[in-house]
């Protein structure tokens, strides 16, 4: 039987957790482990890459696979090199919203465009959490953060929509309230040939909670009530893209075969 203990022993490194109590990052780690387990993927065929931010710690050090913890904003670019160098690897990127769309936004667009067969899980908590709750590209208009003390003058990026437009093979958005759907999507992402992107709206009770004036339970309930498949904009959840198209490492292999004939 797949018990919580079994998942822990099999996929998660025994170390004290660095996440705040009630943080969504632990749930996401669990979801990743369960998805890997459902797929019966050998651990040596998976490589995890992350950048800088709280969510970067989900795979590094906690996930028991080869992990590359890289510089801020660059995990997708590192992952692209890793994947191209060894296409047999399932390369999983876990990146926060700031890492993925702020400092590293360009890499996200181009990875989706080139359809490189990696899976990106973007943990979206709407703030820069690790550095103390500053405004992020995903922060809602007029929200107050430590760097928008008078309210956010800009608007939140609808990341999934952008990634879909950039040409990804698979795009889905869930919240940490929607764990079963999330696990299903990670499974799909990991088996998808091309670029897959899963956005997870996650609770950061420490900073986002302060902005919203909620604890983690209240936040989860807010996710349940606010995020719907028939909602609009950034509150819409579900699978947005699920297509098959030529994948980058396959295309590179074809070039090699053509040239060497």
């Amino acid at each position: 039987m797949i018990t919580a203990n079994y998942i822990k022993n099999e996929y998660i490194r025994r170390m004290p957790s660095a996440f705040c109590p009630g943080c969504g990052d632990g749930q996401i780690l669990n979801a990743i482990a369960r998805a890997i387990d459902h797929l019966k993927l050998p651990r040596n065929e998976i490589a995890a890459v992350s950048g800088i931010g709280c969510s970067a710690w989900i795979p590094s050090p906690y996930l028991r696979v080869d992990s590359l913890h890289t510089t801020h904003g660059r995990p997708i670019a590192f992952a692209t090199g890793l994947k191209v160098a060894n296409p047999k690897l399932k390369v999983l990127v876990v990146s926060g919203d700031g890492d993925c769309t702020g400092i590293g936004g360009n890499h996200l667009l181009h990875a989706a465009r080139s359809n490189v067969g990696i899976t990106v899980i973007m943990v979206n908590n709407g703030v820069y959490a690790m550095t103390g709750g500053q405004v992020a590209p995903t922060t809602e208009h007029e929200y107050k953060t430590v760097t928008t003390p008078y309210g956010n003058p800009a608007f939140a990026l609808n990341v999934s929509e952008v990634v879909a437009a950039a040409g990804a093979s698979y795009v889905a958005r869930w919240t940490t309230w929607h764990m079963n759907q999330l696990i299903r999507s990670i499974e799909k992402g990991l088996t998808k040939k091309g670029f897959s992107f899963i956005e997870v709206i996650s609770q950061c009770p420490t900073y986002e909670g302060r902005i919203l004036n909620m604890d983690h339970i209240q936040m989860l309930h807010w996710f349940r009530d606010k995020f719907k498949t028939d909602e609009k904009g950034v509150f819409r959840i579900g699978e947005f893209v699920d297509i098959e198209k030529p994948e980058l490492t396959d295309e590179l292999q074809k070039i090699i075969e053509k040239v060497r004939k």
Binding site: M15, R43, N44, E45, A47, V49, S60, P61, R64, V65, D66, S67, L68, H69, T70, T71, G73, R74, A77, F78, A79, T80, G81, L82, K83, V84, A85, N86, K88, L89, N106, H107, L109, H110, L252, I255, I256, K258, V259, R260
Partner: protein
């Protein structure tokens, strides 16, 4: 592919040939003058040897991708010039911290900033060694011919694999765009990476201070991080001892092996009273000028570091009788801090920042002036 024999090619192409011969199987780059010819050549050559080429969205991505590929066990390289080299600095430090073998070619152009894209300069010498933040050591090579663009690229890979460091091939627009004879030899000495077979092996090192490297996909469950980490890769961002022992080892593994890494060329140094120290493109006219000076009976000597960093300090410190040291270079600071440090009170800087290399007669004139 690239049969042994004679070629007439430009320096950039010779570097690409060298990379292929060294076993490079992955290149990620972004177009920039005067290094684009390397990128273009790799795009054409790599698939022919079963390798892979990617043009990335920028230089940040290029260097990230080659570090990622290196952890998959593939020899990887990128090539750029000033503006792109500046963008790469953060991850050069990352490669040093994670002990990832990579080769970065910087074909120097006139700066600062965008400067003159097609004109040669030697203003990146300090950046090539100190460009990333924090304490680290890397290795920097400086070729002065098309032949050396080939040979030093091979050597860059060998040193990168041997010492698990980022190696910079510091060329310039003059050498990169110059055409000259290239002889590809029958046999080439290639150093291959030492792999760790177990997680445990990857955490231990011997006298050379270089641990064998793990490879992603081998089931070692490696933890690689640019944060301060214990020998087993676990992040430890609080312990003073871990920070101190890690950073010290990263620096010491180069210092301790200096004898093996340092490389230079010298002529007439035995009895020289005036020494011309030079590197890269400038070392060609510098040598010519010293030969001419000797013909005139001047006790001139010539010294040229082929590896700029670590600098051949031990050898330089043993050069006695020298009354003056002239450093001609295409930069207002270039290598001068290092050379002045070695020869306090004797140092004469001779910069030229027109985008053109010094001529033999300019350097000869300088030698004669300094003797007066």
């Amino acid at each position: 592919m690239i049969e042994p024999g004679e070629y007439f090619v430009e320096g950039d192409l010779a570097a690409a040939y060298g990379a292929i011969k060294a076993g490079c199987k992955f290149f990620a780059g972004y177009p920039i003058t005067p290094a684009s010819e390397i990128t273009q050549a790799m795009a054409e050559l790599l698939p022919q040897v079963g390798g892979k080429f990617l043009q990335m969205e920028d230089e940040l991505a290029s260097i990230s991708a080659i570090i990622g590929a290196s952890w998959a066990g593939i020899k990887s390289m990128t090539a750029t010039s000033g503006p792109g080299f500046s963008l790469m600095q953060e991850n050069i430090g990352y490669a040093a911290m994670t002990e990832t073998p990579i080769v970065v070619i910087d074909v120097q152009r006139a700066g600062p900033s965008i400067g003159q894209a097609t004109r040669a300069a030697q203003g990146d010498v300090m950046q090539s060694r100190f460009g990333s933040h924090g304490d680290y050591e890397n290795i920097v090579l400086s070729p002065n011919s098309v032949q050396e663009m080939f040979e030093f690229t091979v050597k860059s890979f060998n040193l990168a694999e041997r010492y698990r460091v980022p190696v910079i091939l510091l060329s310039d627009a003059e050498i990169g765009h110059m055409m000259e004879r290239l002889v590809v030899p029958e046999s080439i000495n290639i150093i291959e990476r030492k792999y760790a077979k177990t997680f445990d092996e990857a955490t231990k090192y011997g006298d050379d201070l270089v641990p064998p490297m793990g490879r992603f996909g081998d089931g070692l469950e490696l933890m690689v991080t640019g944060s301060t980490h214990k020998p087993d890769g676990t992040r430890d961002t609080g312990s003073p001892e871990i920070q101190s022992s890690l950073v010290t080892r990263l620096v010491e593994k180069i210092n301790k092996n200096r004898k093996d890494i340092e490389d230079w060329e010298e002529m007439f140094t035995e009895d020289a009273e005036i020494l011309v120290i030079s590197y890269g493109a400038t070392s060609r006219p510098a040598k010519g000028a010293v030969i001419k000076a000797r013909e005139k009976g001047i006790k001139a000597g010539y010294f040229r570091p082929k590896v700029l960093w670590p600098a051949p300090e031990n050898r330089m410190s043993k050069l006695k009788n020298i009354k003056k040291v002239i450093l001609p270079e295409m930069s207002l600071r270039g290598y001068s801090m290092e050379i002045e440090k070695m020869f306090p009170g004797k140092f004469v800087h001779f910069p030229k920042v027109t985008g053109n290399v010094h001529t033999v007669s300019e350097i000869l004139k300088k030698i004669e002036e300094e003797l007066r």
